[in-house]
Amino acid sequence: MGNKQTVFTHEQLEAYQDCTFFTRKEIMRLFYRYQDLAPQLVPLDYTSSPDVKVPYELISRMPELKDNPFRQRIAQVFSEDGDGHMTLDNFLDMFSVMSEMAPRDLKAYYAFKIYDFNNDDYICMWDLEQTVTKLTRGELSAEEVSLVCEKVLDEADGDHDGRLSLEDFQNMILRAPDFLSTFHIRI
């Protein structure tokens, strides 16, 4: 199957295979999923590496993402300019990191960026409140949310500066063996 496709050159496909956790067949399948999102926008020939971005609104309507409360943050983290509009590289990168072969460190790094809503390289109290509100769909009262956030900071903040750094987050992830199976999107 690999030699008959005309979407990518052989070198491009090799490069994708070496840099992501997908095989050739899966990359082609992902490409056709990407193309289905915007058939008029995405050309069927990527040998010249066209600069095409699928807008965020179409990405967020994918069945794998449409009911995910963090879909906007996920798209923003993996897109090039942080606005949620994704090129094919971003798309492949996103599903490669969220696949089951990605190692824990890589997933923890991107999870940290996803939960850092204000992009200041720390998960502060405000970020935590956003996370908990999104998780519970706003059904917890404000003081319950702040109580939960305080307990999270108590448990995970190692250097007691009132927010979680990447190391704190990674330490906490190490203690949660379920992280690998929940931070996983099947495509």
């Binding site: 050739r24 390289d121 939960v148 190692g158 990674q170 929940t182 931070f183």
Partner: protein
Amino acid sequence: MAQPPALVLNVPETPEDQGSCDEGEMHRSFHQLLQEQSQCVAEEGLELQPRGPGARAPTASESDRQALLGPEGAVVHSTATLRILASMPSRTIGRSRGAIISQYYNRTVRLRRRGSRPQLSHPGRSARPSLRLYDLELDSAALQEEEKRVLLVKELQGLTVAQRDHMLRAMPLSLAEKRCLREETLTPREKRWGQRGRRGRLSCCSRLRYACVLAWRDLGLGLLPGLQALAPWRRALKRIGGRFGSSVLSYFLFLKTLLAFNALLLLPLLAFIVGVQAAFPPAGSGPVRAFTGLELLTGGGRFTDTVMYYGYYSNTTLNQPCAPPPDGGQCTPEGGGLPYNMPLAYLFTVGAAFFITCITLVYSMSRSFGESYRVGSTSGAHAITAFCSWDHKVTQKWASRLQHDKIRTHLKELLAEWQLRQGSRGVCGRLRRAALLALVWLLCLGITFGCTVAVYIFSELLVEQSPVSAEREEAQLALPLVVCLLNLGAPYLYRCLAALERHSSPVMEVCVAVCRNLILKMVILGILCYHWLGRRVGALKDQCWENFVGQELYRLMVMDFLFTLLDTFFGELVWRLISEKKLGRGKPEFDIARNVLELIYGQTLTWLGVLFAPLLPAMQIAKLLLLFYVKKMSLMANCQAPHRPWLACHMSTVFVSLLCFPSFLGAAIFLCYAVWQVKPSSVCGPFRTLDTMYEAGKVWVRRLEKAGPRVSWLPWVHRYLVENTFPIYLVSALLLAVIYFNIQVVKGQRKVICLLKDQISNEGEDKIFLINKLHSVYERKERGRVGGAQEAAMPLNLLTDDRDAW
């Protein structure tokens, strides 16, 4: 929080050092600054109080903590302090590609020096660069990045292809950058080979080597999608995971694991026992009986004298071209043909299959344990719920809503539990609770005992009533029926009793339920094993008792399957109809623990019966395949995901451990007892002339001793290592020593973790202290400067603002 601008840090005291990455310089400049200020402070008569151990008061740390909080934080630092903070190494994670590249450059260097694959489980250093590698000025930071990038590319070229790919994949860079790095890393040779066009100036050997490496890689990559396509049910598993989450998915993944184990068990049996015997059928078998439908249930009748059971297998050497002369001398082989010693093959194949299964089980159990156990993992429930509990696999709207509800409930429970712990229960309450728990456990154990006694009495009745097993095959179904009924009914009783004891944590509930069901099943199986090996062997003295045991196990398996189907039908479909129409509640929950225990029970039956019915794993595979589709259909139509959060990772470990310890261990003990202690029947089977099945091996060893000096090491090994008990004691003592050593290591690691946590906490406080001191120093300077400038004329104000570059 406003993004602090990442500006150049001008350290005015040493202007010529702009652009140097000398850590010492920076420390010296700050040291100078602080000295200056402490002189001012000393002049003003204030003194810095030393922070003693009591001085780490919560008020101090709280105010310090508040100094760094979000946009609504009380303290606003001066712009100078903010600029310094913005240039701190820890702030540049994610923004600085240079940091990531330099980190991966260091990793690659270490890897090349070590010359081994990187450990996936090793946490490694985070993306935080050390001060040495980080440059303070932005322009030369770009230069540094370029240098580092070139170095990284050079290092990557020094790795093997697999290591390079592994490094590239694990880097947290964007895909476009990874492709650029890879492009630069490809050696010209590889590029040429990639184009498959020209021939390079390579020697013949290295060209051949490259061709082999590339062909191997292509083969592996070509096989990989094939293997993945072979992996069945990818779409079905995705649908199940999408609708019900990881918890229910863990049941189906466990089913897949069991399929793999059975396939592993079946292959050597098919190749070395069943296939060979089917190719050389024994002479003088009885008349072929007619096929009635009952054989499918009872396993007897038409199936009795087939490869399915032990009794069919011959006890001679197959395919022997000559018959041994009557005086016992050697025979000269005439034609071709490999003689095949059937008894030996039977014994060794079953032993080897069990050994391989044991190794695979222990390996998968230890790997699963390694992934799920963490030192100090009991704390941190809130953090883990907040960050790790959302299952991104879930794709349906209603399933997603269910997840929201589940997480909300869990968070509320955690908060309630914490508040409850604040106000502890009185002694009376605790005593009452303990008494209730003891009562429920006693009742459950009583039910177990009752079931066991019932099975025992029933089996004794059967032995006394009909010692001849040939007639009345329908009556043979009675014992399996009773056992399955008890296995079905007792767990429901346990569930009713468990409603009395209200456990605080749902994990405890599941553990307790699993324990009780497991005890029941294992005790019943134990009674049945005693019944077979203890009583039936004696009762069926001149008949083929092994066939009988094999058929009993076949019947048990078939009955178990039928009852599972019935339970699925009544427990899920009918209960859903009742629950929705009459009771008005929603769909019933899918009881994961009970279903997994049923799978483990079925697998135990297979392992028990392999010695007496070598085709039992094939039946188990067929049963598991059917079960997958039946359970999937019933799940989609009738059930919903469990409400309580389910620690999928921990529970998978528990299930694999349960599969290993009571289940496989029990079957192995049964097998060893049957092989070593029980006299095989004298009318059928491959061991009919021997005292024990193990004697086949001893006979062969004795024959080897006579065969000559070339193979004399085998009898020696047998005499001194297998039959002697001293090596076993030695190996056990060594194993115990290794286990003790590992326990001590883990204890030491726990202590080190506590110490490191304290150290991090202290460093954090130091950092906050320094930042606040820095802020106050700059403020003082600002005030001093403003005070001085006020004396000058008004237009000069603009100049001072400009000069206030730090």
